[in-house]
Homo-oligomer: 303 residues x 2
């Protein structure tokens, strides 16, 4: 959970709601019930937790502690593929000790958002036999806590990572060899995000290339990757996606994954049309479905 | 027709065969008979024209004139999406006056490679009622001869252009609005090339997004766009693609175009695996077909 202050060529937004968990849970909640684990400071608007509750998002795992909520300030230049961080104030995140409420420990699907891999593992240790574990990370942890990250990755089934980070983590120069190397670290499914160009998805020996949906104006790319992951993992959870399926029915998994990626892609296309969670907050399933159908038409080839 | 001197992270090649027409015709010749119009100097190896002849490429329209063949020297950096031109020696190209042999004037399909738009129109004026006119151009002409280019574009059915050039030509900021604006200039089909990320194709109101095929090592991106266009236009020519089809059967055209773009995409993926026309020269149709099948599998979503 975060407050973001963002400047883009389209304008700026100060102290708006942000954070991976916000984008992820709003996106995933269109498919399945979501349980949040996070920390906020006393400055956080509790009304927002009520808003999340209305989307059937369980907020019992959100700790409210003395101090200020995490704050990120950044800006995007013309291409908008990469944020330039202006400042990061960890605040209450600095001493975050994620504790799962007892009602969470039977969660069948776990998504470990981008945070210290030691904390990611700490969360994993509290869940009882999850059926599917997905994970995100970033260059900061790849550079600074590589061994800890590799330890976490051993237990992960699906890794979401951007292109640059995939090259950094794998020390490879082509996308396919990067994916193969990362698969060998643990996650048999690797989803590589390529910003405005879409994603390349590797599951076992299968490859799926998904172009991004074309949007008229990118207002703010913040949260694109998190909402992509939210729709992706939410759709998989709602349709029985699991490690067992990966192993015993890889073809079914691959097809399910492709549809999930398409949902993730169009979800991200909505997110970037407004600052913060502005577009996502009011997004209807029918709007998502319409754009999903259009994207599938845009990538179809009749033989 | 050109000699190229190229440096890439993978190595370098000096004074090797290059030029749009080389890449285009070798690619297109896997689908249909090609007739070349070009100019070379006395330093050009006539043995190469014989090689082209063996691929059933008609070289009667190649003028051999006193002087040196056009020479381009360039290099690519890490990302390899854009060449940095080190030097351009026009040589015999400076006074090129493209003249079509009488046997060429009934050509049903015309591809105007990237050259002065005045010469492009001059070529067009010599062809009798072509059924399909495709065209390439570059930033140099968009900036320097915009009015002449627009005059040529009015007669063009299909424009191949890269992403940056599309934004430059249209003065728009999103891909879809750029395509719409270019369509209004004449070409009802606009193929926007996005380097390693593939292409976005606009025909009438249809959109086709084609990711690039993943290659292990990009040795030299030179000629990727030209061989893409060669397979694209060659496939269209071999399968009855025409302006009339665009108008009377737009759905058929759109489907034909999508398959043509897939062929173009995989053709480019072979081109960049070696310097010059090294890979293209010996490429077999079966290799192309195999990779085409693999790419189609990589972009398919079962609903």
């Amino acid at each position: 959970m975060a407050f973001d202050s963002v400047r883009t060529p389209a304008g700026k937004a100060d102290q708006v709601l942000g954070g991976s968990v916000n984008y992820f849970s709003l996106a995933a909640s269109l498919f399945t019930r979501v349980r949040i684990v996070a920390v906020v400071g006393e400055d956080f608007p509790l009304a927002h937790l009520e808003e999340l509750g209305k989307r059937d998002i369980d907020t019992h795992g959100i700790q409210v502690v003395p101090g200020k909520t995490f704050h990120w300030a950044g800006e995007y230049d013309g291409a908008m593929n990469e944020a330039k961080t202006l400042s990061t104030s960890l605040n209450v995140l600095e001493h975050f000790d994620p504790k799962l409420p007892p009602s969470y420990i039977d969660s069948p699907v776990v998504f470990l958002a981008n945070i210290d891999p030691v904390l990611q593992e700490h969360v994993l240790n509290q869940v009882k036999n999850p059926e599917l574990i997905a994970c995100d990370t970033m260059n900061f942890w790849i550079t600074g806590k590589l061994e800890e990250l590799k330890k976490t990755l051993k237990r992960v089934d699906l890794l979401c990572i951007n292109e640059k980070e995939a090259y950094l983590l794998s020390d490879q120069k082509s996308l396919e060899s990067a994916a193969k190397k990362i698969q060998a670290m643990g996650p048999s499914t690797v989803v590589i995000k390529r910003g405005e160009y879409g994603s390349a998805v590797f599951s076992g020996n299968e490859v799926f290339l998904a172009p991004a949906y074309l949007v008229d104006e990118v207002v703010d790319p913040t949260g694109a990757g998190d909402s992509f992951a939210g729709a992706l993992v939410g759709y998989l959870a709602a349709n029985g996606g699991s490690r067992a399926m990966m192993k015993t029915a890889p073809q079914d998994w691959d097809q399910l994954l492709r549809r999930a990626v398409v949902y993730g892609t169009v979800m991200a296309s909505f997110t970037i049309e407004d600052f913060s969670i502005g577009r996502l907050k009011h997004l209807k399933k029918e709007e998502l479905t319409l754009r999903k159908e259009r994207l599938i038409k845009m990538i179809s080839v009749r033989q």
